[in-house]
Symmetry: C2
């Protein structure tokens, strides 16, 4: 299969939903502009695509659950806006464009993030937008799973630990916690979303979770390696910022070579978790390999 | 009825849920401390109490829905933490204590707010904590209603407009928009929560909404009047801050006397909306009157 074409098609599917949705948002114009600015800045849509691919792996049709999958991008984007704030990572560039607070001011950037997070849960609670009827038990379970992954037990918890560990001496345990929570939790929830919406069986669901946990960590390791060895124009954000901020990262703790080998091992572990799936899980497997090779 | 006792009893009901819930939160300790610090700072619990009273007005037992009602306090508290940030209202004092960013730093305050908002949706999706079995359709509807009220169409939208209107010439239309959204939307959703969870009929539900809209606006007007005429130790926050920041408020636009009369009219309008309810709606009516008389 042509994974690049697959990713492009699915990204377009997500963007075809997000663009009119944010164009028609009825809210004060500057807030709406700030929300749209970051959401429509051309992200890779990794998390929605993982949800769509996982839904396909369980026998579903990707087109049917685009609004739910897109909600993950709202959560991811809000986290980037808040992370970029001067009080947090203080970044000026994101996805090749000035960060939200640089364009709209800090107060509006905080609010744009808040609004996107809230809008994500609004989207998840809207059954009418999806092309299939999703059972309410699945929807409630989905909301709970996403909230758990995004909040204090997941992404925000990881981000808090990340801040606390800046300037701290390298420590593999802290590092594992930060990565598993800051990035891993929402990526795992994205993969699990496909399983929840397709009513996957217990065993399938466990396999998807294992796949998600492994590639989530691999994704973050590659991100950190790219921050050291990538270049700003390819990445669309400033490189070397982890080192400047003395962030705890895999390359910093173990070196680039061992970190890359660790990522490779995780990706193969993730692919292995899907061994009982049909060829419908091929996109998930290819995405895992793509994560290893990505340059941005 | 003794409304002071009623408010105290209901506040204790909410606090009896919130205190152990936040004590047992499994998240990095500083984040957990920051979340607990603001949640357990002794708020009046107005929004949860409105939800409980509204549930009672529809024939329910308040004790049965405390976790759902408490989720409203998480949303309200997150909004206070973010509003107090230097990039927003830059307040040092809240509920008589230093604001979150003063104690934990700006980055952690942003994250504590993010985590509380997310946790609110987690709580709303947990059927197991409530003492009655709440139908999933009602739960989905509740999540959608709260998200709508808290996000870009509601509270965050009002907050964004509030920032944009600072230093602007007085304008009644902007003022009405800000108040209806910044404070009114979540207060209305709180009242509606009781109706949704009790499966209120259409007419009852409309009446609760009208009650909520009226007392929500009255609540904000009194808040603004107290900011001019109250005192810091009673209020637990700095007074005169609206004027310093040239905020658009009712007393600023119309004067204190007309603003107070407006609030009185709204409260009576709100009480009038409940005329078809039994005596079980007495607490809601008394709360409306209490809002007029409150000193903090």
């Amino acid at each position: 299969m042509d994974i690049k074409k697959y990713l492009k098609d699915k990204r377009e599917l997500v963007d075809t939903f997000l663009t009119p949705y944010f164009d028609s948002l009825a809210s004060p114009s500057v807030l709406k502009s700030a929300m749209s600015y970051s959401i429509l800045a051309g992200g890779k849509r990794v998390r929605p695509i993982l949800a769509l691919a996982s839904y396909e792996a369980c026998g579903g049709t990707a087109e049917d659950i685009v609004p739910f999958a897109s909600a993950l991008e709202l959560i991811h984007t809000y986290s980037l806006i808040h992370d970029d704030l001067p009080a947090m990572d203080n970044d000026d560039l994101r996805r090749g464009k000035p960060t939200s607070h640089k364009v709209f001011g800090e107060g509006m950037a905080v609010l744009a993030g808040d609004a996107l997070l809230t809008e994500a849960f609004y989207l998840l609670s809207l059954q009418s937008l999806a092309r299939v009827s999703v059972g309410r038990p699945a929807l409630i379970r989905l909301i709970r799973d996403v909230a758990m992954a995004a909040g204090a037990y997941g992404m925000v918890g990881g981000q808090a630990e990340d801040i606390l560990c800046e300037n701290k001496t390298a420590n593999g345990e802290d590092l594992a916690f930060i990565h598993a929570h800051k990035t891993g939790a929402l990526i795992t929830a994205s993969v699990r979303m496909g399983g929840i919406l397709a009513n996957a069986g217990r065993k399938e669901f466990r396999a998807l979770t294992r796949y998600g946990e492994n590639i989530g960590l691999a994704f973050q390791i590659i991100d950190d390696i790219l921050d050291v060895s990538g270049n700003t124009s390819e990445l669309g954000k400033s490189t070397g910022s982890d080192e400047r901020k003395k962030k705890l990262t895999f390359p910093a703790v173990y070196g680039i070579g061992p970190a890359a080998r660790k990522a490779e091992g995780l990706v193969h572990e993730g692919i292995g978790a899907l061994e009982d799936f049909s060829e419908k899980a091929d996109p998930l497997k290819q995405i895992a390999l793509y994560i290893l090779r990505r340059r941005n």
